[in-house]
């Protein structure tokens, strides 16, 4: 608790400090490569024959996903707080890579916790983290995925709280993490709003983004919340189908619970133990979801649906072939929903899909699924 209070006051002070804002925005422009483009996917739009589809190209951000927006923000904050070490959890490896990058950039040491199942399916990112000077610590407890990596990260933080900052990678965990991570990711929606106004002269009708913990989606949604005509759709991982129990669709298959300092929708059994999850994408393979998404769902402001493994894999291939962009398997879930929905909408309808990351990290995994030896 003292660590959380310390973090909250440090963050509030930083958020008011124009020097902090200037440093962050300088790095966003010259290091991360922001603003990321908003790309009109002409061929995909034509092929689906309905709504006009724009892709917010977070895959073009440095390190290949939106995770860097938050990691750089928190690394600067940790430096400012006088911490010497960053730790983080990672699922797909993107947040681990982003945090290792932030640590290298600010000269802090870095340890990344990663479930052994995720290490197996994301070996490329494991090596990237090591190249960036981080140590990757394998977590083989529990379900050996993201949730267990967060547990270990929090245990480490409890132990080394005086010297270490825990870089939570998503809009989850105890306050102030959900607020702080959202704020660092809100740049996605801020840019997208300006860009769509320039391209279309109006706001979009739909925003579609995948939801694991929920940082890329809240990042896209946040600046549009006040615009009631902009509909928001979050896409969870349907895994092998809701009925099989092998999924990570917390809204479709979960109930309210408390995990890792957060009250939200949770996949749990009748006794309050957390259930195992499955998704083809490591980044969505998580038993709970950011509390602000729970609020947006309950208030009806955003709607939540899911795409299963197969739908995500076909979306992955479709985007590669029609647009020459290989998306992350996480982002492919948002595309899968777009593929279902766009044909049912008029040609005047405008959709922005958050292409939250690039798919290079998934290429090996997809090949394995298709039975292809590389």
């Amino acid at each position: 608790m003292p660590a959380l209070s310390e973090l909250e006051s440090a963050y509030k002070a930083a958020a008011k400090d124009s020097a902090f804002a200037a440093e962050l925005s300088q790095l966003q422009a010259t290091y991360i490569g922001r603003p990321t483009p908003l790309y009109f996917a002409k061929r995909l739009t034509e092929q689906l024959g309905g709504a006009r589809i724009y892709l917010k190209r977070e895959d073009l951000a440095h390190t290949g996903a939106h995770k860097i927006n938050n990691a750089i923000g928190q690394a600067l904050l940790a430096k400012r707080m006088g911490k010497q070490r960053l730790i983080a959890e990672t699922g797909a490896g993107q947040h681990g890579v982003a945090t290792a990058t932030g640590a290298a950039l600010t000269g802090l040491s870095c340890d990344i916790y990663m479930g052994s199942d995720d290490i197996a399916r994301q070996s490329l990112n494991v090596f990237r983290m090591k190249l960036l000077g981080a140590r990757v610590i394998e977590v083989s407890t529990g379900s050996r995925t993201l949730k267990d990596a967060i547990n270990e990260g929090l245990r480490d933080w409890t132990t080394n709280v005086r010297t270490t900052h825990y870089v939570m990678g998503t809009v989850f965990g105890p306050h102030p993490f959900p607020m702080m991570v959202r704020d660092f990711q809100a740049v996605i929606g801020k840019e997208a709003k300006k860009q769509i106004l320039k391209a279309e002269g109006r706001l979009p009708d739909y925003l579609i983004a995948c939801v694991g913990g929920g940082s890329n989606s809240i990042g896209l949604f946040f600046d549009f919340l006040a615009h009631e005509n902009v509909r928001m759709i979050g896409v969870e991982a349907g895994g092998r189908g809701i009925a099989t129990g092998e999924h990570a669709a917390r809204f479709a298959g979960g109930s309210i619970g408390v995990l890792q300092g957060t009250k939200s929708y949770l996949l749990q059994d009748d006794d309050g133990n957390v259930l195992g999850t499955h998704s083809v994408s490591a980044g969505l393979d998580y038993a709970s979801v950011g509390p602000e998404h729970a609020y947006l769902k309950d208030s009806g402001r955003a709607e939540y649906t899911y795409a299963d493994d197969e739908e995500a894999l076909s979306a992955f291939e479709l985007l590669a072939r029609t647009e020459g962009i290989i998306p992350a398997l996480e982002s492919a879930h948002a595309l899968a929903e777009t593929i279902k929905r766009a044909p049912t909408l008029s040609k005047e309808t405008v959709i922005i899909v958050n292409l939250s990351g690039r798919g290079d990290k998934d290429v090996q995994h997809v090949a394995r699924i298709k039975g292809i030896e590389l």
Binding site: G142, T159, V161, Q260
Partner: protein, 258 residues
């Protein structure tokens, strides 16, 4: 007055300190837990802390994580732990505390939990992932049911936090000896004595110390400052040793806590 408070008063009169062992319910089996409780009592345990297994035990180190996994595999739940205590009450009046994470209690229903646990003979609860700021409802249900709510303080706790815990705690205050998780190596914070003295200045609630205490020497050191000493992981590690070995170990701890 709760059994826990009565125990501390009784010890205070004798000038003694409380020895508070922790074991995980259902590790390695529920039957063994019953046997272990008899061994604990025979070795002079003043209060017994029973772990409730949870899938994501954030505050626990590898020993208790593994014990929880074992217990979960055998179907041990908060419900079965409460039933186990009810059974236990037929043969012993030793004060029993449940250490459980919050989600099982939340899912069970806080009011129903307090009522059922109290009826079973549970004397106190520790919920390590529930700070007093968020515990209003649970505290009031437990007060009504006569269950002591035990909260944690750490070496990093601020004055403000100490005040909140002092207000919310009943039975005793659990002082976490280190910044860290259960079963970690104890490198005693030099300021532990003054920290505890500082807490005791603010309240008359007893202060017991736990996390990382694994041998008689450490237990004896901690007992100099504290009203009670909690030993968990080190005992859990021995759950499958012979009764004679466990008893010897427990007695060595018991004799060190004075």
């Amino acid at each position: 007055m709760s059994r826990i408070t009565r125990k501390f008063i009784e010890l205070r009169k004798k000038g003694g300190k409380a020895f508070i062992p922790y074991i995980m319910t259902g590790h390695p089996t529920l039957q063994r837990t019953g046997e272990l409780i008899r061994l604990l009592e025979d070795s002079g345990a003043d209060i017994i802390e029973l772990g409730v297994p949870f899938s994501d035990p954030l505050a626990d180190g590898p020993t208790i994580q593994k014990a929880a996994q074992t217990a979960l595999q055998q179907g041990i739940t908060l419900r079965s732990v409460i039933a186990f205590v009810a059974e236990l009450r037929k043969t012993t009046q030793v004060p029993v505390i449940l250490m459980t994470y919050y989600n099982p209690v939340f899912k069970y229903g806080e009011e129903r939990f307090a009522r059922d646990a109290s009826a079973a003979g549970v004397d106190g609860i520790i919920v390590p992932d529930l700070p007093p700021d968020e515990a209003g409802a649970l505290i009031s249900y437990c007060r009504k049911a006569g269950i002591d709510t035990i909260f944690l303080l750490a070496p990093t706790s601020t004055e403000d936090r100490i005040k909140k815990v002092v207000q919310a705690a009943r039975g005793f205050i659990y002082y976490v000896s280190i910044t860290g998780i259960t079963g970690a190596n104890l490198s005693m914070d030099a300021s532990i004595g003054s920290h505890i003295a500082d807490i005791k200045e603010k309240c008359s609630t007893p202060v017991a110390v736990g996390f990382g205490i694994s041998n008689p020497a450490e237990a004896a050191t901690v007992a100099q400052f504290a009203d009670g000493v909690i030993v968990g992981s080190a005992i859990v590690r021995q759950a499958e040793s012979s009764d004679a070995d466990i008893s010897r170990y427990l007695l060595s701890l018991r004799n060190a806590v004075k």
